[in-house]
Subunit: 252 residues, 2 copies
Amino acid sequence: MAQETADRPASAAVLVIGDEILSGRTQDVNTRYIANYLAQIGVDLCEARIVPDDMAAIVEALNALRSRYTYVFTTGGIGPTHDDITADAVARAFGVDIGEDPRAIALLRERFSEGELNPARRRMARIPKGAELVFNAISKAPGFWIGNVIVMAGVPMIMQNMMDVIGPQLAAGPPVLVETIEANGVPEGAYAEGLEEIARAHEGVSVGSYPAFTSAGFRNQIVLRSRDAALLGRAAEAARAMIKALSKELAR
Amino acid sequence: MAQETADRPASAAVLVIGDEILSGRTQDVNTRYIANYLAQIGVDLCEARIVPDDMAAIVEALNALRSRYTYVFTTGGIGPTHDDITADAVARAFGVDIGEDPRAIALLRERFSEGELNPARRRMARIPKGAELVFNAISKAPGFWIGNVIVMAGVPMIMQNMMDVIGPQLAAGPPVLVETIEANGVPEGAYAEGLEEIARAHEGVSVGSYPAFTSAGFRNQIVLRSRDAALLGRAAEAARAMIKALSKELAR
């Protein structure tokens, strides 16, 4: 495991909370959105987990992840129904009290009349003690930020709104730059050895190869990622040259 | 935590392996596919994790999951390139040797000529000792099954092909039945309390409420899941009656 240093990039995990993902009802799209967002601001997404709406499962995953990464982003389980238990689970994980937060009630009043603000909707104002609220313009029901854990909605549009609020406050680093090289004509097994050499010769560049099966057959891409633009450029040049040479060889 | 009993349904976890998912390049669709597949054959998917192409991360996640669930399904990292380290990680997690498997080489020979079967492609025949191969008709490169861990490709079409091979061998239970109730006109916060009562009155039915934000505003669905058809029917009837009553009330 790499040594923790002051100039090591911030790390992150995503914790997706919800029975609907594990039952197959709903396709999780939040992890990918957060992954792309974090890559752009230079935070490394190192792990993601999906757990059900279950107190013990959420608390255990939260504690495992928050002790290990700079940030933990959760999505889901902060609505008004009985299965929305994320806020209570976060309070339990941190060992803090939870109760109705007057700031959150004030936000809900912007959307709901006094008569509409029934006990179920007031549940959305339950916030662990010591947390900062995370606003969203769409539903008004806030997420929150406590310690290194950022709690967001599961509805993608609301989660994305919250991410835009939080983003500027995150410890950002140099963004991860990406070079994608199409290897269409060349099979993965033909360039794998050359690619490994390129990976070895360019430490600091992460080198991946991704086949996809399309109606036209396998379509391979080589993806190079680095925070160092010059190094990335040299690795990309080497990969393009390799593919070009192999294409010629295969065409013979 | 529920007591382990002989007639408790089989449980499962998914372990998605690949930098490309955590970088945001690729949308994981395998977890949802496996989730739906398992629900249909009565296996409970309890957790999913996404880890990078990193030996320590894969081994740690594998050991955590395989000790806890009936099955662990992995996807990704069994191709010919240097970043494909899943087979080696599984061997390390189980503490068994790994080497070129003659059965796997025979499969690869169906696709590749002797000249094409270079060291990179032979990597796809590295199988932990004691594992059973999992065939796929598309790429020929096999997945494998060792202990309670089933190792599959990351390319969705190949993974799905492998799932069809494995499915009939899994310890299946009664499928999970689903009732979905549209609550379009009624806001979540208006039916949350009634829904909680329905959940309490129908133990054995998992009750969820899922808002989605569409161009027409929020669109809510109540989803009821159970292995007991009669119980599920009663819960669904109660939920429909509640929504109907609330719709009338709101229309007044």
